[in-house]
């Protein structure tokens, strides 16, 4: 379609705002608007022409959980707006800030585990705690069950719909490396070779991915949980 005809542009801007443009055409138009300030202005004018119709619609407060869900999602989206070409999350400031919260939580969970396992032999060591943005633990990495292994047990994984997967990533300087998928049922665990984990201080992150894991070999979904490797696993 030619987008340089002023009448056509005006008509498309109007139908874009009215809502009668097919969804796929509208998304294409969204990209045009982002690159064309004059077209964006036409759209804005149409929105303002028709907006008074919304004044007649009664306002109604949404439930508090809507805001909680938005907050959780923008915490994950962090400093990477999707409209521009986003920096990957592992380079975003919000991610590293979130890590500080996760680290302090890890200490708390560590105390808990020491309390739970004290006096038992052989006692597993906490290698990492993967915490959500609110600080809630999702998975804990413990040494074992065999020497040279670390098992990640689901403590309270989020109730995401089943076609999704939680993928664990290790970051030590370079791009994230996949460490595999994490169990989704509380109490389940998956063991991996300790040598694959980043060294102590290295970062672990859990992203939400399509079933079967990231199709690209790099995280594609939001990071929901993160933590640091606390000790070198034997």
């Amino acid at each position: 379609m030619r987008y340089d005809d002023p009448e056509l542009r005006e008509r498309l801007a109007a139908e874009y705002v009215l809502g009668t443009m097919p969804s796929r055409a509208r998304r294409r138009f969204d990209r045009l608007i982002a690159a064309d300030p004059v077209l964006a202005r036409m759209v804005g004018d149409w929105a303002d022409r028709l907006a008074p119709l919304d004044d007649a619609t009664p306002a109604e407060a949404p439930r508090a959980r809507v805001w909680r869900a938005i907050e959780a999602r923008i915490a994950v989206a962090g400093a990477a707006p999707a409209a521009t070409v986003p920096d990957p999350w592992f380079r975003s400031l919000a991610f590293w800030r979130g890590l500080a919260i996760a680290a302090s939580l890890a200490a708390a969970v560590l105390v808990l585990y020491v309390a739970l396992f004290a006096g038992r032999a052989p006692s597993p060591t906490v290698v990492a705690v993967l915490a959500g943005h609110g600080g809630e633990p999702g998975w804990v990495g413990l040494t074992g069950p065999r020497p040279g292994e670390v098992s990640f047990s689901a403590v309270a994984p989020p109730p995401e719909p089943k076609p999704h997967a939680f993928e664990l990533w290790g970051i030590a300087g370079g791009p994230p490396r996949s460490l595999g998928l994490l169990p989704q049922q509380s109490g389940e665990a998956v063991a991996l070779r300790a040598a694959r984990l980043p060294p102590p201080g290295g970062v672990l992150a859990v992203s939400l991915e399509p079933a079967g894991g990231s199709p690209t070999g790099l995280p594609t979904g939001p990071v929901l949980y993160q933590g640091k490797v606390l000790v070198r696993a034997p």
């Binding site: 009668t20 202005r41 004044d55 619609t57 949404p62 707006p81």
Partner: protein, 188 residues
């Protein structure tokens, strides 16, 4: 008469502009304030289109995530802040409506609401709504209904054709001519 300071009035255009600008700079507090000031109105709009609280809440959630992500795209020169917000919410709600499978009965838009909307010069409406109502009144009845059903309830061209019992091509030309006439009338 008390004159509201445009900068401190609860949801003044200027205040919303500033909050969107701050949200673009990743200011969470500003984004929270933006939600507090606008969510009830925007939820009303989503609810009008989707009819069900659950879906309207999902659309509102999608919208605010998009608003956070796209805040940097908004510029005051591109129209009012509320117009920008409403457009995002309506599009999210319309997408959700088009995706949903269980929708036939929810598509029966109440005619009374449309009549009320299009009733020129109701006492409690603002100057802008009165001007728009006046211009809508200048349209023929069927094309006016098509415009209102599309804007207020998110009907597609095909659904409008079925609802108004005319071919899709007729709906398309009604919409095109009606929008042209509205623009002329509002600017005249």
């Amino acid at each position: 008469m008390k004159i509201a300071d445009p900068d401190t009035a609860p949801a003044s255009a200027l205040r919303l502009q500033k909050l969107i600008g701050a949200a673009a700079r990743r200011d969470r507090a500003a984004f929270t304030a933006l939600y507090t000031l606008t969510s009830a109105k925007l939820f009303g709009v989503a609810l009008r289109i989707l009819r069900q609280r659950q879906s309207a809440e999902e659309a509102l959630q999608e919208s605010f995530v998009a608003i956070w992500q796209r805040a940097g795209d908004y510029e005051p020169a591109r129209g009012s802040a509320m117009g920008w917000l409403v457009t995002i919410v309506r599009h999210c709600a319309i997408d959700q409506l088009r995706r949903s499978t269980a929708r036939p009965e929810s598509r029966t838009a109440p005619e009374e609401a449309l009549t009320a909307l299009a009733a020129a010069g109701s006492a409690d409406s603002g100057a802008e709504l009165r001007a728009l109502q006046h211009c809508l009144d200048e349209l023929d009845e069927q094309p006016r209904r098509a415009v209102l059903l599309a804007y207020c309830y998110g009907l597609t061209r095909e659904e409008l054709a079925a609802r108004l019992e005319v071919p899709v091509g007729t709906v398309k030309s009604w919409l095109r001519r009606s929008l042209e006439r509205l623009q002329k009338c509002l600017e005249g």
